[in-house]
């Protein structure tokens, strides 16, 4: 019996330690978004990219795996996750002149523990039937939109980020009140994803919704969803004051990355011009690298003013935002 166990273990280990030139990625981002990038990277460098896609529990898994974790590179879809990983001491600083130079200072950590790859705006979509309106996030709580607003779950990281920025701007008391009134304005219980809200506007269920910028571009290029997107304007809120709330997708290196050199290469690749252009063209995001143009569709929405609140501030207020969401019973 023991013999078999030993043989079995050896077999398993030989599987695990086969390829030498590879890099392991834990990704919060969806496969279809990052797969083309990885394929390009492998083609250029010959380094194989292994991926686990998971939206949930990545930090927990990483923490449990500890120093034996195979993960090299961590990809996330918002700033809070990156900061969470650093707080749990799961990432390491990366000293790379390439990254440092290519990324604007407000989009990378002072201690080099995380780097943004793209930015995305939390937009307000509004039905064309409402006409052109200058929106502020504060307006979502306005009585005149009673029963006209749709949104996804408040607990979704994108919404939590927005609420955290509201806390930074107005304090907790105001934000709680805002959340309660916002909830009263909802046409239906928070549900679905950002695109589903635009569909709901198309269906006359509501007039206003929250959604990330790139979804609009994606819907416009999708045969089935174009009809939904055609019904709405994409609005950049708070243009006359602090600017629109911006979140990032970003990257960090795992603390115990076994393939550090390859990990650094991958990170530097992701900020390279071709990779950033791919982000811009296929994902309709705003590349962080200067000089990489946004896609034509995104360019057609025009310039906008972004809230210059430091990203770490948003991450810091995340927990407070969650508590307020519970207090307002936003999702119930």
């Amino acid at each position: 019996m023991l013999k078999y166990i030993i043989v079995g273990l050896l077999l398993v280990t030989s599987f695990l330690s086969s390829a030498s030139s590879e890099v392991n990625v834990y990704s919060y981002r969806q496969p279809f978004l990052v797969k083309p990038l990885f394929d390009q990277f492998t083609k250029q460098t010959g380094i194989k990219v292994n991926v686990v896609f998971a939206k949930k529990g990545m930090a927990e898994r990483l923490a449990r795996e500890g120093k034996y974790s195979p993960a090299d590179v961590l990809l996330t879809t918002d700033i809070s996750r990156l900061v969470e990983l650093r707080e749990k001491d799961l990432v390491q600083a990366v000293n790379s002149a390439v990254l440092k130079e290519a990324i604007p200072a407000q989009y990378q950590a002072n201690d080099n523990t995380w780097f943004a790859l793209t930015t995305r705006v939390r937009n307000i979509y509004s039905a064309k039937r409402l006409g052109n309106i200058d929106f502020n996030y504060e307006d979502l709580a306005d009585d005149k939109y009673r029963g006209l607003v749709c949104t996804r779950s408040g607990k979704h990281p994108y919404t939590v980020g927005l609420i955290a920025s509201m806390i930074s701007e107005h304090g907790e008391e105001y934000t709680l009140d805002w959340l309660k009134k916002f909830k009263q304005n909802l046409a239906r219980k928070p549900q679905g994803n950002d695109r589903g809200q635009v569909q709901a506007i198309h269906q006359n269920l509501c007039d206003i919704s929250l959604g990330n910028s790139y979804y609009f571009g994606k819907m416009l290029t999708d045969d089935k969803q174009k009809v939904w997107a055609d019904e709405v304007y994409i609005n950049f809120p708070n243009q006359n004051n602090r600017g629109s709330h911006v979140n990032i997708s970003g990257v960090a290196m795992a603390k115990y990355a076994p393939n550090q050199a390859n990990a650094k290469k991958l990170m530097e690749y992701l900020i390279s011009k071709p990779a950033q252009a791919l982000y811009a063209q296929t994902n309709m995001e705003y590349p962080v690298r200067k000089g990489v143009p946004v896609s034509d569709i995104v360019a057609s929405w025009g310039q906008f003013k972004a809230d210059d609140l430091p990203l770490e501030e948003i991450a810091k207020n995340r927990k407070a935002a969650l508590i307020l969401l519970d207090k307002a019973k936003f999702d119930l």
């Binding site: 607990k155 939590v160 269920l205 119930l332």
Partner: protein, 541 residues
């Protein structure tokens, strides 16, 4: 029962298995002990009461609906002269093959404002906006309850029908002789006699409901599972999440205990189930109502969603998806085959321990190892990480100490943890099936080989196992199918570059793009049909 054998090794092995299967649960309970009371206080003051209420309401609704669906259809099939009875008899089982999250998605697609049903209604009646008419909203607690009941009622139907069909007909005859008519006999004798089967199956349904996470999440119904997710992923508080999960598990354990207490001493075995049975004759109107009821269940629970899937597949499939399907399909089959084989093997060891080592406690290992069924997949996955990551560390530390090559995360970082989770979760099914199969083997077959001086291993392999073959196959298939459908554990424990059919479909569903995965969904359903067909054939013969 006489204790025929008393092999130390077998006893040791049985308890060892039970212990190993309990470890994740124990770790979860221990981890939950140092939960932050502050966070608990906050949750309790804000959302937890609502979550609890939703959980209880959902459980009650699903069980009630499933009872109505399952018991009524079982009674109609076994007690009346319903038309097309032979066909309906197995058709009513088909919804079992449909994962609940799939049905939920398909029906939302169908009945949504933009779906074909409402679109056509608007066309016919010339309505312009949703304010002009009322239409039910599926994405509610009751909607989720209906969805779950539609695919879970077959558990109740299957076991209750079995109970009705095995009942001793002489009891019914006695009742008739004492002046009851056929209907009174059914309500006063047959139905009460079927109570144990109904209770067992209802508790199964309740456990499945409490463990569900994909359906309620899709319908944005906030339950205890939501709370577990929130505390763990949102607040990043694993201990509190474990504590909540323990509460959920205790709820389920209560159900199990109540159910077992409730039917203690209610064992009813028939010696002559095959005696000619007198059927209740339905009037014309009753015949119509009964037919509509049964056919609606079949259509809504299986035929309609399956047809929707096929039409999606026809419209959207392409070669790329097929290649993709092959890879994920093989992954799914691989892990499910291993999980099913291990679970059945364990069930056999424990089943024979109970049978042949008859003493007061010999049922314990079997019962303990079944607890995992009550643990939601996500919670179980968390427990797996908590169990195997430290073990992996320990192994690697040893390797480091002896300067061997370090094995890496051979347990928590491979499909091992995933398969272990499957086995823990679905052992109850294998145990139950094998145990009932063993019970049907006449006791004399235990004694005869012993008197002839045959050893324990030989008795089991030469006498019992051949008789059990069909049961083993069914147990294997049931675990196989459940593993194919299982989702949460896969999502959390996947190794690199590893997708299964269910994880892929779930991701597509959460992006509202099931069309791309329709083929994979059909494959899951088709595999799910296998044990149903086999179960049916076994009963026929």
């Amino acid at each position: 029962m006489i204790a025929l054998y008393n092999q130390r090794k077998w006893t040791f092995l049985s308890y060892l298995i039970a212990l190993v299967m309990m470890i994740p649960v124990l770790i979860m309970l221990v981890d939950g002990i140092d939960a932050s009371t502050q966070l608990f206080g906050h949750l309790w003051q804000t959302v937890l009461p609502d979550y609890l209420q939703n959980t209880i309401l959902l459980g009650v609704f699903v069980v009630l609906l499933s009872l109505i669906f399952g018991v009524v259809s079982a009674a109609l099939i076994s007690q009346t002269n319903l038309l097309f009875k032979q066909q309906l008899r197995w058709l009513l089982l088909l919804p079992l093959a449909m994962p609940a999250y799939l049905v939920a998605y398909l029906y939302t697609d169908l009945f949504d404002y933009a779906g074909p049903v409402q679109r056509n209604l608007r066309l016919w009646f010339d309505w312009q906006s949703p304010t002009e008419y009322w239409f039910f909203d599926l994405r509610t607690l009751s909607g989720a309850a209906v969805m779950l009941a539609l695919v879970l009622y077959p558990y109740i139907y299957m076991l209750t029908r079995g109970a009705f069909e095995q009942q001793d007909q002489s009891l019914m005859r006695a009742a008739r002789l004492l002046g009851l008519n056929a209907k009174q006999t059914f309500f006063n004798v047959a139905l009460p006699l079927a109570r144990p089967a109904i209770a067992v199956s209802a508790s199964l349904v309740l456990m499945e409901t409490l463990a569900d996470f994909a359906t309620v999440q899709y319908f944005s119904v906030n339950t205890l599972t939501t709370a577990i997710f929130d505390t763990w992923l949102g607040y990043g508080d694993m201990a509190a999440a474990n504590a909540l999960a323990s509460v959920l598990m205790l709820l389920v354990l209560c159900v199990i205990v109540v159910e077992q207490r409730g039917r203690a001493g209610l064992r009813h075995q028939s010696s002559r189930p095959n005696m000619h049975k007198e059927l209740i004759q339905l009037s014309f109107l009753q015949q119509i109502a009964a037919s509509v009821f049964c056919w609606l269940l079949v259509i809504l629970g299986f035929l309609l969603p399956f047809a929707l899937l096929i039409s999606m597949a026809v419209e959207y499939s392409n070669a790329e998806q097929l290649a993709n399907l092959l890879e994920t399909g093989i992954n799914s089959i691989k892990v499910s085959v291993i999980a099913a084989t291990v679970a059945v093997f364990i069930a056999l060891i424990l089943g024979f321990y109970q049978r042949l080592h008859g003493n007061k406690f010999s049922h314990l290992p079997q019962q303990i190892s079944g607890f995992g069924y009550a643990i939601p997949g996500t919670v179980l996955a968390m427990a797996m990480l908590a169990t195997f990551a430290p073990l992996d560390h320990w192994l690697n530390d040893i390797a480091e100490f002896f300067a061997w090559q370090q094995p890496g995360l051979i347990m928590s970082g491979t499909i091992f943890a995933m398969i272990f989770a499957f086995v823990v979760r679905f052992s109850a099914i294998a145990n139950g099936t094998i145990a009932s199969g063993i019970k049907q083997i006449p006791q004399s077959l235990d004694y005869a080989p012993a008197t002839l001086g045959m050893g324990l291993i030989k008795t089991v392999t030469r006498v019992h196992l051949p008789i059990l073959k069909p049961t083993i196959l069914i147990a294997w298939l049931l675990v196989f199918v459940e593993s194919m459908k299982e989702l949460s554990a896969v999502l959390l424990l996947r190794p690199f570059n590893f997708e299964t059919l269910s994880s892929q479909i779930y991701q597509l569903i959460s992006d509202e793009m099931l069309e791309q995965g329709a083929l994979g969904a059909i494959l899951i359903v088709l595999f799910g049909l296998l044990p149903i067909i086999l179960l049916n054939r076994k009963r026929e013969h």
